[in-house]
Subunit: 136 residues, 2 copies
Amino acid sequence: MKHNRRNFIGKISLATAGIVGLSSFKNEPGQREVKNVFIHHVFFWLKNPESVADRDKLVEGLLKLSKAKTIKDFHIGKPAATNRDVIERGYAVSWLLYFKDEEAEASYQSDPLHLKFIEDCSHLWNKVIVYDSVDI
Amino acid sequence: MKHNRRNFIGKISLATAGIVGLSSFKNEPGQREVKNVFIHHVFFWLKNPESVADRDKLVEGLLKLSKAKTIKDFHIGKPAATNRDVIERGYAVSWLLYFKDEEAEASYQSDPLHLKFIEDCSHLWNKVIVYDSVDI
């Protein structure tokens, strides 16, 4: 009976997972192709690259900015330890955003939270590169 | 009773969603911070940037490569229509991968599927930039 109950719970979980969608970042077997998204990936180079305080201020600003309502998922990153010729690792902060579509990203650009972020934090960086990508 | 049943189903769904995680790319209200990932974002510049056939070959190669077993999620993209000074849009293909951690990404680098991809497709590109990012 215990075994059957486990099976039942397993089936419920799978069925529900089918409805709500599975997380991208769990250990499911196999891979998942992400589709129908607008990917906005920004890399910031700091004016003071050695300043942990400045990096912390930038991250704090990004966390406030992450509340902008058209953002779906976001990731705040730093360069990994990997180091090959083709790897760019001079930036201080990676800011990766998912939007539903181009319209949602355009709305984010003029969101008051975004304007406030630029006002509060733009003195911290001296270079920004943005990669906007859509499904091929 | 119907109302209660709906509530019950709603609770089950939420509880299960909590276990399996919500999809990143659905229209849930609010945002989600992605954590505990290794992000590997590669941009390819083609030798023949105007060749749709070459781009198609590269995408075909990436789709085969996407079966590498340590890849979690992947997205194959092209530059969006957005066009501002800070936006880099000279690349032909964006290849965004999520791994569990640095070890999983290292394993991918030496995966036979990866070596085969380089063998089959490296003649197509003349420049690659890689950004590897981890949680800050």
